[in-house]
Symmetry: D2
Subunit: 305 residues, 4 copies
C-alpha cells in the first residue's frame, strides 16, 4: 500500500474542517498554540516511517501520557491495581466526580483523570520522590530517544488552574484511595501531562503496543503479551472519554487522545499512527485528528473489526 500517498490525500481532505473546532484554552500555555497545525505520522515495524505536515513539531501530549504511566504500573504493580480502579468505560459526561462518589472513590478506568491520578500515586509509592524522572526515563526508552522532555511553563500553568483535578484527588484521598501526599502526586501528574512530543516521536513511542509489548526495532520487551493486549483493549473502550464508542465505531482502532490535539492509534501487528491538530470537538478530542484517522481506516481497510 502507498502509505505516503494516502497520508497526502488525507491532508487534503481534512482541510475544510479547520476552524470548526476549538483549541483548549483552560490554560494560557495551550491556548497560545495556533489552531491550524496538522501532522500525521506512521511508524512501521521494519523502521519505515511516513508523514505529512509538521511531523517534527512538538506539542503537549496531555492525556496520551496516561498510556505510558499505565504501562509502567501494569508491569510493576500487578494485581493491587485492580483493587484501586475499574476497567470499564465511564460513559458519563459528568463522569469525574459523580461516579467517583457513587463508586466510593474507585475510578472507572485508568484513562479518565481520576484513574490516571491513582496510577501516578502508585508510581510515587514505588519510586518515592523519583516517580517523574522514572516516567520520563520510561518514555525515552520506549521512544528510543533520549531528548524527550516536559514543558515547564505548561506544567506550572496546569498546576495553577487544575482545581478540578485537585478536587478529584482529595475526594479519592477521603476514600483512602491515595497513599501519598496529594500535592506531591499532583506535581508529578501535572508534569507528566506537560511532556512535549511530535507525531513522529509519539508514533515511535507506542510501537511496542502494536507488537504485543515488544519494540519490533530494538527487540526490547516492555510488557507481556497479555498486558499489551489488555492495554490495547482499554484504549479501544476507554481511550477517548465520552466519545470512546464513537471512535471505535468510526475509526475501529485502539487509540488515545489528549487535549493538546494529539491522538495515537495502533494497527495491531502492523504499525502505529499519530495525528496532531489542536482544534477539539465538543467531547475534547482533536476534531481534524479524529477525521484523519477515520479516513485512514476507510482508505486502508485497516480497522480491527
Amino acid at each position: 500500500m502507498n502509505y505516503q500517498k494516502i497520508l497526502e490525500e488525507i491532508k487534503e481532505e481534512v482541510k475544510p474542517l479547520f476552524g470548526k473546532g476549538k483549541v483548549a484554552d483552560y490554560i494560557p500555555a495551550l491556548a497560545r498554540v495556533g489552531s491550524n497545525h496538522f501532522a500525521m505520522s506512521l511508524q512501521l515495524f521494519d523502521g519505515r516511517v511516513y508523514g505529512v505536515g509538521e511531523v517534527d513539531c512538538r506539542f503537549s501530549v496531555q492525556s496520551i501520557s496516561k498510556i505510558f504511566t499505565y504501562a509502567m504500573v501494569l508491569s510493576a504493580y500487578g494485581k493491587e491495581l485492580f483493587k484501586r480502579m475499574n476497567h470499564e468505560p465511564s460513559g458519563n459526561p459528568f463522569n469525574s466526580l459523580v461516579q467517583l462518589e457513587y463508586e466510593n472513590g474507585i475510578p472507572r478506568n485508568p484513562f479518565i483523570n481520576a484513574g490516571a491520578i491513582v496510577v501516578t500515586d502508585i508510581l510515587e509509592s514505588i519510586y518515592t520522590g523519583e516517580a517523574f524522572s522514572k516516567i520520563l526515563e520510561f518514555i525515552k526508552e520506549v521512544s528510543d530517544n533520549s531528548k524527550i522532555d516536559y514543558d515547564k511553563e505548561v506544567a506550572i500553568s496546569e498546576s495553577r488552574s487544575g482545581f478540578r483535578n485537585i478536587a478529584l484527588i482529595n475526594m479519592m484521598k477521603s476514600y483512602k484511595n491515595i497513599s501519598n501526599d496529594t500535592k506531591d502526586v499532583m506535581g508529578i501528574y501535572f508534569k507528566q501531562c506537560s511532556i512535549s512530543m511530535s507525531t513522529k516521536e509519539l508514533s515511535r513511542a507506542v510501537l511496542f503496543l502494536a507488537n504485543h509489548g515488544v519494540d519490533p526495532i530494538t527487540k526490547k520487551r516492555f510488557l507481556s503479551e497479555s498486558q499489551a493486549k489488555r492495554l490495547n483493549s482499554l484504549m479501544l473502550t476507554c481511550g477517548h472519554y465520552d466519545a470512546s464508542g464513537d471512535f471505535a465505531f468510526r475509526v475501529g482502532l485502539p487509540g488515545k487522545s489528549g487535549v493538546g490535539g494529539g491522538i495515537v492509534a495502533l494497527v495491531p501487528e502492523l504499525m502505529s499512527v499519530c495525528v496532531w491538530s489542536p482544534e477539539l470537538n465538543s467531547k475534547g478530542n482533536s476534531l481534524v485528528g479524529t477525521k484523519a484517522l477515520e479516513l485512514f481506516t476507510t482508505k486502508t481497510g485497516l480497522s480491527i473489526f
Copy 2:
C-alpha cells in the same frame, strides 16, 4: 489448529465454576432451566462446525436478539437512527433510567434495553403490525434455518413481569422518542427476547457479522462492510452491559450476551463462536460462558488486540 481439542479442554477447565453463578430468576420460565448446562459451538467460513456439550439444546436468546434487530434497522433506516440513540457505552450500573432522564430520553446505545426498545419501535414504524414476523424472518434467513421460533411461555412470562421495561418505554414516550403505541412495541420486544436457539444455530446466525456483512456460505449480503464494522465495534464497546470493558479486556472479541446464559462472539474474517451456560455473574453475563471465551482466546491467540 485443533479446535475440537481446544473445546474439549475448555469444557474440562470450566467445570469447577459450576454452582458459582446464579440462573436468572426474574421470570419462572427462565428460572426453571437447570443450572448445569454447557454448550460451545464454533462455526467456520468454510462450513465446518465444532462443538462440545449440548450444542443442539435451545435456550432463550434474550438480549442476543438485539444484534439482529439492530442489523435490520442499520440497513433499513439510515441516518434517522443516530438522532434517536447514541452509540456510547453506558458505564453506569444505574444506567437504565438515570441516564435516560439526564439525556432526555435518548438511550446510550442500542444494546441496553432502552436502546433496543427504540430499535423495535423503529421496526414497528417500518413494518406496521408485522414487525415481529419480519424479525423472525430475518433471523431465519441469517441462520439459513427455517425452524427458528420463539417460546410463547417465556414471552408471556416476560410481559407479566417486565415493569422496568414498561417504565423505560413510557419514559421515552414522554420525551417523544417512541412513535408507536407502547403496548404494541413491548409485545414485539418481549417476543423477540423469547426466541429460542441453540449454540450451533446462534453461531451460524452471526457468521455474516464476522465476514463484513456477507454470509460466507450462502454468499448473501445482509449488511454493507461499513455497517458490519460498526455493529462489531458496538458489540465490543457495549455488548455486555456494565462489564463490556472487562469482556474486551479478558476476551478481546466483539460479543453479545443475554440473561438466558448465551454469549456470541466473533473472530473477524475467521469464525463465529457461541457458548451457553445459564448461571450468571453479578453483572448479568454467563459466568462459565465468559470464562470459556477467555480460555478460547488465550488458547488460540485469536483476540483482535
Copy 3:
C-alpha cells in the same frame, strides 16, 4: 386586621406580574384555561371568609389533591406508610426517576408524584375498587360541601399523556412498592388530579389542617393533633417540589401548590388561605400566586417564623 383591604391591595400589587409566567400546557384541557385569572380566599375559624377576584371559579386542583389523599392514609394506614415512602424534601430537579432508582423504588416524600401514586395504591388496597369514590367523599366532608366533583375531560386528557407517571408506577412496581394493578391505580390517580374546586372551596377544605386536625366550624376531627402537625411540616418542607425551600423562605407558611395554578397555605391556629392564578414559574408553581402569598405574610406578619 382588615383582611379584605389587604386582599384588595395584593390584587393590585400583583397585576404587573401577569404575562410573566406560562400556563401548564401538557394537556389541552389545562392549556385552554385563560392566563389572566386571579382569585384569593381567606377562611377563618369562626366562619368568616374574605376574598378577591374569581373566588367561585373552579379550577383543576392537581397536586393539591395530594394533601387530602395523604390525610386519608395517615389516619387509616399507620406505620406501614413509613416503610413505603420517606418524608424528606427531594431537592432534585431530576427527582422523579433518578431518586426512585437510587433509593430502590421508595419515593422521597408523599408530595412528589411517585409518593402520591404510592398513597393512591394504599387507598386502593384499603377500599378495593372504591378508592376514588372514597377520596371524593373525604374531600366533600372536609369541605362541608357535597357538590365537589372531578372534570372527566381533564382526567381523560391526563391519562392520555401521563407517560412519565406511568413510567414512575412501573418502576415502583418493579421494586414491589405497588400492590395493585398499575392501570387501576393510575386511573384513580388521574381522576384525583382532575378534581375541580374554587379558592373559596379549597380554603374551606384545608381549614381542619390549620386547627390541629379538627374542623373548627363543624367540630369534626379528621386527624389527630400529631398527624396534623406532621402533615403541616411536610407541606412546609416538601409542598412546592424543588422550590419548597424558596417558598418557606419567602412565604413562611405550610402550603401546597398544583400545576392548575392553585396554592393553599395555612396560618396555624388562625386561618387557611387559597390563591389561584394559572401562570406558572419555572419550577411549576403559580407565579402570581406565590407572590400574592409572599405579600400576604409581609403585610400581616403571619409567617410561622
Copy 4:
C-alpha cells in the same frame, strides 16, 4: 409551664437511648469525647435559663457555626448571596459533590458544607485576612460572652483529614464560585467548626434568632426582621442535612445540628433551646439530642405547626 420539671423528665426518658448511636470519629479530637454526655438548656427572653446535665461543658459546635457565619453575610452582603448559592434542601445522601457538579458549582444551600464554605469565602472577601477574628467577635457579641474561643487541636485535626471539604472547595473554584485562595478559606472554615461552646452558651447565642433578629436581653439588633425570618426558614428546611424533613416532622422547630453532638432549636417569640449528646444517628445528627427535642415539643406543645 414548669420547664425545669420537663427537662428533668426528658433526661430520664432518653436514658435508654445511650449506646445506640456512634460518636463522630473522623478526627481523633472528636473521637476522644466520651459518649455518655448529656446536657439541655433553655433560654427565655426575660433572661431566665433552665438546664439539665452538663450545661457548662463545652463541646465542638461544628456545623452549628454555619448559622452565625450565614447571619454575618446576610446582613453584610445582600443580594450577591443569591447568585452564589441556592436555598433549597439538598435531599440527597450523595449531595456534596454530585449536586455541585450537576448545578455547576452552586451549592444547594448555606448549611451543607459546600454552601458554608462559600459563606466563609464571602467573609474573607469582606474582611481580608481578618475573617476568623470577625467570626469569633460576632459569636461573642450575640452570646454576650467574651470568653468564647476555638479549640486549636480540633482545628488542626480537621485540616489534616478534611480531604472531602478540600475537594468541595476546589470543585467550586473550578466553577469560579470561590474568590480567595482555597487554603486561606479552608483555614478559616476549619477554625470556625472548631469553636467550643456549652449548651448554656449556645442557647444564649441564638436567642436573637427567636426574636426577629434582636437580642431580647441586650436589645441589640443583629438582623432585620425579614433576614431573621429567612434564617429560621432555612434552619427548618435545611438544618439537618438529609434528615431535615424528619426533624421538621418529629420536632417541628427551626434547628441546626453539628457532628459534635449539639443541636440548637428556636421557639419563635419565646425561647431558644440547645441540647448536646455526642452519639450520632445514621444521618449524622445527635441521636439522643433529636429525641430530647421531640419529647420537648410533645410535652410543651411548642411546635410551630
